[in-house]
Subunit: 582 residues, 2 copies
């Protein structure tokens, strides 16, 4: 070890013939030279982690504090300041990504280590779609700037250009590098990755804030129109006329694209966070195999019910948005309708998740305990993002209980039921998703200690034997099994029979689970669509506002609704993962 010899030299000096004072100054010189070596040497991992996490957090907090100042509409802090800050951060991320890609290109190590669980191809595909919508949004922003360029700051034009560039290169980065396990220049790359994580988080925060402000302004305008309140809305309009005819079209369309942009940024930051966690990690070759996705026969009830849920949600959304703006009566009717719809929907979802859990209780599949930062993060994010909507629900419960006995709107009881079901539904669904992610299929276990070949196209020997046997008892699958029959091998009779029987019931259970998963998947999409496009009865029902006051309740909503939106999108992604895995 290097440090040993260094220490020896220092200590030898102590024992040399020179006087104590000169030896100590000598030792100090050595100490400084050693320090220089030590600072340029590899920095301990734990410290690098802490340091980079602190760097990223502070970046985010700077941005958040500027946003808070901006929300006050004071004279000193303007939107330009915030956008300049974000633009600089995006440029820094661009430079880092470029450096990283060039270095990777130069290295050309034959097989760089890659984490098979990080960023599956379907999630990258989904993100590419979201990124495309973000690019359209940037185009609208540029169009808006062109129309008003004579009287608004140039930053508002530069920002969407840089953002578009950032989006394109980030998607490229996600496709080709997100699975990389970095083992070189760890400390430097750690800062680069965490910078990217928090830049995306900041972009998410910015989107959430813009959307919340827009929604709140709409809400106030609506309240004023209905004669409830007379709160002046603060909307900053440019002080000149638009030179093109489509400016107002641009600015209104923007708000329909915001939800996609918001989800895009938070998902990217979650993926980059997994990459950060993977830096310097030694992969376990056994657990780092990708599971092939399973066939899905007998999918009928789940997708059908799911489509029904989706269709009814869109109907509810349209009816709600039309009716809530009209008179007092239609407003109350629209809110009642929403809660009734919600109660039915959530009850079905609770039932489905509960049934899924029961299937797991019957089927004693073993748990998978391998290390997998991606899965750990998924679990934590699910639980963490539930917090917001749980708080919102409990506040509704308290409000419904507090207004008991007084002249309260007709939907008070359905609101109470809706809130309680929302809490229950998230609990049960979280349990179902977590259990599904941590379960291992039985054949995995049987195969795991035997086969290490990464190139094997199917699940392995034991599995193929199962499939061959499958044909005997389930002739419907004949076509698919036929192709693989040639690979089938006979084992001893007893395990084969056991496997055979196992497979029959397991197949039926798997079918149930698949149906449940696809149903939940579509329900979660429905419940994302509603608040994302403006159906937020929590603002309109005036029940909670009475108990908590306007400012506390809007603060709660401004925190809870973005968390809830993220929760829904995140469970959609997790449920898709579960669907492929079951």
């Amino acid at each position: 070890m290097v440090e040993h010899s260094g220490l020896d030299i220092m200590c030898l000096n102590k024992y040399g013939p020179s006087s104590s004072s000169s030896s100590s100054s000598d030792a100090e010189k050595k100490l400084f030279s050693k320090l220089k070596v030590s600072l340029t040497k590899r920095y301990p991992q734990k410290n690098a982690e802490t340091l980079s996490a602190q760097y990223g957090t502070n970046l985010l907090l700077i941005g958040v504090s500027v946003m808070l100042a901006l929300a006050q509409h004071g004279p000193a802090v303007k939107e330009e300041h915030l956008l300049t800050f974000i633009t600089v951060l995006m440029l820094m991320q661009l430079v880092w990504m470029l450096c990283y890609m060039i270095r990777r290109e130069r290295e050309r190590s034959p097989l760089p280590e890659r984490d098979a669980h990080a960023g599956t191809s379907w999630i990258r595909g989904g993100l590419t779609m979201l990124a495309l919508l973000s690019l359209i949004m940037d185009a609208f922003r540029i169009g808006y700037f062109v129309g008003y360029h004579s009287c608004i700051s140039a930053v508002l034009g530069v920002y969407p250009i840089i953002h578009a560039l950032h989006t394109i290169s980030q998607v490229h980065f996600l496709w080709f590098h997100i699975k990389d396990v970095i083992k070189k220049y760890e400390t430097f790359e750690r800062f680069g990755v965490i910078h990217a994580v928090f830049t995306n988080l900041l972009l998410w925060c910015n989107g959430v804030m813009s959307e919340a402000e827009h929604f709140l302004n709409n809400h106030r305008r609506r309240l004023t129109a209905l004669g409830y309140a007379n709160i002046s809305t603060v909307e900053v309009e440019p002080h000149c006329n638009c030179t093109t005819s489509v400016c107002s079209m641009f600015s209104t369309s923007l708000y329909y694209l915001y939800p996609f942009n918001i989800e895009y940024h938070i998902f990217v930051s979650a993926m980059l966070f997994v990459m950060w966690k993977n830096i310097g990690r030694t992969l376990d070759r056994h657990s780092n195999r990708k599971r092939p996705s399973t066939r899905s026969p007998g999918l009928l009830l789940g997708p059908l019910l799911g489509l029904l849920a989706l269709a009814s949600s869109v109907t509810v959304l349209v009816v709600y948005l039309i009716h809530v703006e009209k008179s007092e009566q239609t407003r109350e009717a629209a809110i009642s309708m929403f809660y009734c719809y919600g109660v039915v929907m959530l009850a079905c979802m609770c039932g489905a998740s509960g049934a899924g859990l029961l299937v797991y209780r019957v089927e004693d599949w073993p748990m998978d305990t391998g290390q997998n930062p991606s899965r750990t993060l998924d679990t934590e994010l699910l639980l963490g993002s539930s917090l917001g909507s749980w708080l919102m629900s409990w506040c509704s419960v308290v409000a419904a209980a507090a207004t008991a006995g007084r002249s309260s709107p007709s939907f008070r009881w359905t609101c109470l039921a809706y809130s309680l079901l929302l809490v229950l539904e998230k609990c049960v669904q979280n349990l179902f998703i977590v259990e599904s992610l941590y379960r291992r299929r039985r054949e995995d276990e049987a195969m795991a200690p035997e086969i290490f070949s990464v190139t094997a196209p199917y699940d392995g020997i034991v599995n193929r034997a199962y499939e061959t046997q499958d044909k005997r008892c389930a002739p419907l699958d004949a076509e698919q099994s036929e192709n693989r029959q040639g690979f089938g091998r006979k084992h001893a009779d007893v395990p084969l029979h056991a496997g055979n029987r196992l497979n029959v019931t397991a197949g039926r259970k798997r079918q149930i689970l698949k149906n449940i998963t696809i149903f939940l998947f579509m329900c979660n999409i429905s419940l994302w669509i509603l608040p994302a496009f403006g159906c937020r009865p929590q603002y309109d029902n005036a029940l909670e506002q009475e108990t908590f006051g306007f400012s506390v309740w809007t603060t709660v909503l401004n925190v809870a609704i973005p968390m809830n939106l993220f929760y829904r999108m995140h469970s959609v992604a997790s449920l898709f993962e579960v669907f492929r895995k079951v």
Copy 2:
């Protein structure tokens, strides 16, 4: 495996001579009986964790939503409701603790597994002190209730009695059971422990809310007295006269005891959380040894400077509290004084932590990577609780920058410097603490694979040899070494010499580290005392309020100040741990 045979039975039915429909109904019967067995059997650990975490979180959120409603001072939700809820939770925790202790008593397994790292004796001692102060607070509350019993709810009398009972039995539980690693009735105990964790967290929230409200009322009264604003304060006074003469004494003294009660509850919940994490854990015998604490010669500069810091803090506190209530001039002078004091203090702390990090860079002690939930939690809590005060600091920076060029108070620049230094100080101190917690002493490493005896009173053979050699080059330690000389054993010459030299420089570095740690320890106590007892210039300086508005800024402060208080106390505890370990 049990489940295997169960599956076999079901599958055999399939292959029996009965018709398909009857066999399926048979299979369903079996399924249900199997389900019954499976539900009563051991529940998978991951699920039990998720379920219990969700239970606890929702308990807390119910409490928080009631608190939010309470903060509005509406007619429906009263303090009695909240206190009843908390009392019920405390009673449930009491029942669980009783059950647990009785069961443990009955079992009498010769050596229950215990996690050596959880709840060291000095932290339990500290908590006992805090608990005593909490008991005094309960006594005051009971006295207050007795005085006003004719016109206030009985809940206000029951609550302190149950709280006192809860405190006493919880301290008993901490002393005798906090290190237990639970391996029986895991699912049930998991719920019990998490219930205890969140009951304490809720008590913490309640304390924080009461204190914040009290402080805000004081602040408003002060502003009104100075003629700044005319905000009516909402303080609920009982509607009758006190029957004893000391009621007002009770109610004012309460607020001096709040800070201790608050710290007590959050520390207990952190310790119980470690216990929850330990449930079902298999301890690694090697890493689960307690490190003996080291001797500390040459402690002079650190404690002296620390005492100086402590004394000056108390002075600043007293001067601040007196001057801030007087005229406009003295108010501004008091705030200026606070910021100047803060800049000097934080600069010294940055210097000290930085020096500590440099010592670590020179000394290449290996990292300790053993599993240790207690340490992981410490690290995460340090980083997590820094967030609040970082946000506060960045807001101050933004405010100072935004008010530039306008007529601003004289302390604007010192406020800016103070805020930036606060961010830097927390970053560097966190790095120092994290690195210290994850470092291993060299002799540990040398000894680790050789000695497993838990009863060895000293560090082991190698270490004793060092100590004996120590005497030759450092005759000052003669007395201490003399006692142990008898145990000294001669090894081969070469390692001895290396060890000897190593020890000389290592001893000096350790001395530096000890001094730094004790200095930081006292500085953190100082910085806890100031806000805990009312020195909060963030309220008084009106700088941030101008930029962020009253409601946003008080929300930020109400979140950030309790987090900051916890951060200071937590780093005091961590630094004590570091001090014993270095």
